[in-house]
Amino acid sequence: MLKTNAAWPYILLAAVSTMRFAPALADTAAQPEHTHQVVIEAVRFEPLDLTVKVGDTVVWINHDPFPHTVTAVGKQFDSHEIASGRSWKYTARKAGVFAYTCTLHANMLGTLRVD
């Protein structure tokens, strides 16, 4: 009984230490990359042309009442169907200019430039 009680200060210390250092670690890990947003609405990508850096993440959000895809013409990336109200994210790992379309609505065109 006495031994069990004696452990509490160490447990509390460990918990407090985690609380103090965890946010600092999270900040360090999250900051170097950026996230960009492309809205899909009225059967178009907005912005149509987006430039990001290698390592950045792009999130496409579908605001239309039906599905769309985000599909690179050269097949470097493909979201497959993004349902209404859902999103899809892609982290750009390779530099280049990537034209993309929606395979369900061929008149939708966008460009992702990765520097």
Partner: protein, 173 residues
């Protein structure tokens, strides 16, 4: 006059007993829901009938997109407490859709595909014309008008898609 023009534009030839003023929001709601449902029904018949992959995929796209548009329209009018009101235009649309289905059911193979796609081209041209000349200008509620503006490009995409298949079918025959 606007509504008469709309009915004529839908290619239905029903100009009798329509009011001289443009449609009200409850009437527009009924027209939108009926127009979508007519195309969904034609798409379902096509999925069950055609053996042509491009035509099947197009029909599936019509079912999915028009079902999505209808859900948005119903959600909005429910929120706005607008009850869709049947009117000569929605009734004519329904009758025209039933007539199209009746005709398609008599056809098979390439003749079916051609009739379905030809009708889809004409239908989407007519709906776009109606959206631009009657439905969008007459919608008084801002959210209803915004929904019509938002879904208009889908009809443009469908029309282009249908025309592309129409050209491909003509080249095959």
């Amino acid at each position: 006059m606007k509504l008469i023009g709309f009915v004529m534009a839908m290619g239905l030839g029903v100009a009798a007993a329509v009011p001289a003023a443009g449609p009200t929001d409850p009437q527009i709601a009924a027209i939108v829901v009926t127009a979508n449902q007519v195309d969904i029904d034609a798409g379902k018949l096509t999925i069950a009938t055609t053996h042509t992959q491009d035509v099947r995929e197009f029909a599936q796209r019509m079912i999915t997109d028009h079902t999505g548009v209808n859900k948005s329209a119903v959600d909005l009018v429910t929120k706005l407490k607008v009850t869709p009101q049947d009117n000569p235009t929605s009734q004519s649309l329904k009758a025209g859709g039933e007539e199209n289905l009746k005709n398609l059911k008599t056809l098979k193979g390439a003749a079916f595909d051609k009739a379905y796609i030809d009708h889809e081209v004409a239908y989407h041209e007519q709906v776009l014309d109606a959206l631009d000349k009657v439905l969008i200008p007459n919608a008084s509620n801002a959210e209803l008008k915004a929904l019509l503006v938002q879904v208009r490009p889908a009809f443009v995409a469908h029309l282009e898609h249908a025309k592309k298949i129409q050209t491909a079918l003509a080249a095959k025959s």
